[in-house]
Symmetry: C2
Subunit: 450 residues, 2 copies
Amino acid sequence: MTEPPVLLDRRSGVPLAVQLADGLRSSPVLRVGDRLPSTRQLASTLGVSRTVTAAAYDQLLAEGWLEGRRGVGSFVVGTPPAAPVDRRSRPDPTPSVAVDLRPGAPCLEVLDRAAWRRAWRAAGDEPPDVGWDPIGTPAFRTAVVEHLLRHRGLPADPDDVLGTSGTSAGVAEVARLLPPGSRVGVEDPGYGRAVGALLATGVTVVPLRVDHDGLVVDEVPAGLAAVYCTPAHQFPLGGRLPAARRVALVEWARAEGTLVLEDDYDGELRYDVAPLPLLASLAPDVVVHLGTTSKVLSPTLGVGWLVAPRPLRDRLVEARTATGTRPARAGQRVLAALAGHGDLSRHLRRLRRELAARRDLVRGAVADAGHRTVGDAAGAHLVVPLADRATEERVRADALAGGVAVDGLARHTTAAGGPAGLVVGWAAPTRAELVDALAVLTGALRGVRP
Amino acid sequence: MTEPPVLLDRRSGVPLAVQLADGLRSSPVLRVGDRLPSTRQLASTLGVSRTVTAAAYDQLLAEGWLEGRRGVGSFVVGTPPAAPVDRRSRPDPTPSVAVDLRPGAPCLEVLDRAAWRRAWRAAGDEPPDVGWDPIGTPAFRTAVVEHLLRHRGLPADPDDVLGTSGTSAGVAEVARLLPPGSRVGVEDPGYGRAVGALLATGVTVVPLRVDHDGLVVDEVPAGLAAVYCTPAHQFPLGGRLPAARRVALVEWARAEGTLVLEDDYDGELRYDVAPLPLLASLAPDVVVHLGTTSKVLSPTLGVGWLVAPRPLRDRLVEARTATGTRPARAGQRVLAALAGHGDLSRHLRRLRRELAARRDLVRGAVADAGHRTVGDAAGAHLVVPLADRATEERVRADALAGGVAVDGLARHTTAAGGPAGLVVGWAAPTRAELVDALAVLTGALRGVRP
């Protein structure tokens, strides 16, 4: 049992739990294998409430820095594994990040942990598999079909659904089947990992212009083998592709013989009106629909899906069979159990309520700082437009100095002259952390003109 | 509740449980969603023991055709998803297969289901992950390090270990980092899925000769970017690469600047002597070591690992980060829990005992039929050499007519003039099914000259 000396500053504005987690994480006396004092003990040592110590431990558990062993205590298992990589792939080192407002993380605060545990138990009660499965378990594909019908209005047959390891993995699989030398259009600004996945397959990527309504369809050039887009909630600008553009896109794709990759990013998370028809329901013959659980549940599952036109679906299965690759069934089992018990639908309802409320908090805070926001009432991020890239960098640096990490549009654009602005997410922190982080963010935004 | 009429032939030689499973699977009256009678009810209806009905249900559950809902009963959920694909990718349609003796499946009969369930429960008790993890959870990598040290004599640092989605996926990831136009050597006969994974990345595959000791190292040509091999138990011929060849291979690789991909196929499953030093322990600077849980536990987990030289490991992590691909953590959690409780080591001991005993059964049966076997005392398959490919086909067809599927060397060779013989596995069936299947197999082998 180690008693780590942690200094807490009650007047710093940073929540005590966040300070405590940071202090423990960077403590020079703690090593891998050390057992931490109980939350009760540590609370009494530091003179704080047990809520604070429990929240700090939860944070460290979630990061993978700490591991809880039932009835034995909490042990240091090391620094979060992703840290060194994130440092390299992200422009900023983030050693002092207290609250992370970058987009892409799930909202664990509203995840019903009892339901989560129940689903894992159910998954473990099933007999282990013997055979090879390049498609996805029947229960998983049935769960996806029900999800797509209920939450996305897409009628699909379980045989049309293929499990994936996530959206980018699905994009890469499809791209590998395109003819050599293919050109693939991508939204710019857009989702960098999908672009990276495309580039790694050897295709040539063609940036496509995006406005506040999403992809500018009538500017898409001819000669593309495929177009990758996020029509439900464009990442990162936040527009929803209007119905007329949807129709124009799929008609154009049919005429051109172009495949449309519909990344249903934030598709489940609309707060105002009903979502527009999916591209896949308008034109199942030319659209590959892609979804994932990483952002609405947790990346732990490593589970996504795609619905593809039958000939392409068959070629994908053939490629998986020939190469020995297939999505892992462990996460599929957990998802199927969550869906089967109705917990997934309940979770999505709760998640929508919480994220909508948080969005109001963020918009209010940004408006207080005299800035406007861009993006539909959807998802878990918005954009705060700024005058130029230098301003973007300055606000990000100021926020980071206050312990708050936000993203900038520069990271999501290939064009040097693209729009400038912050990309602010609100799913990852607790609601309390978000409130504190927004105080830091508004401080940083007040310093610059809109 | 449906009472399916199933005809059982007590004198056919096919176990009653197998007949019953076949009958249910092909029953014209059962549809998706139907509930089956309880094992007790059905046993009394058919006048067989409950062991028979329970075994048939277990079989159908394992195939994914049936789903058990706790306290409610067993429901038809559809045909096994892999079936249509297997039919296409394998030379034979196998509608009448009662016992599958093709290699590559795990042995579920010795898997402690209580330990399996416990591991899933423990995995679900951990908090869900928030962040991106291209490496693998700390607990998983620690478990792999302990496994490699204890069972494979390989000292590795957790930072050297990367989780994978399986061996072929790891092979493909490494191959994608090779320079364009690279040539990669593969054993011939060899493991077809790894060859398929290599081909899909665009490298040129160069077949390398194999003898009863594995890869014929001194015939490997110059100019290869990498060599893929199975030194622990060559697939499918069953040799173990001798120490002198191991040293020669890695020295040659160092001199040539060639990467060696060491697929540790069956590495945990030796029944006679201690395994020879891994290529990765002889030359960690030029060897990528690859392992998986699909064959020693179950493909459900979708979990493998690789240990690579640090610069390559860093490039793999960069590629994963850029492309948004990473191994799923769900199965990693379950494996870490199994290892943490000591259940993995216990399972491997039990598995070795069972598979060694089954190997004796298979060798005895083949000897009774007047044939010899080839392959070390290891793993879960051996080869029965035959005069030519026509004989191989005839014996396979005869066995299949008796309900027993075995593999032939033709499926694992690119050379039309390669060796002929059966590839017989023994992990998938129960011990009782194996005994019955061997009677069929010896019958088929008696018909041909050795």
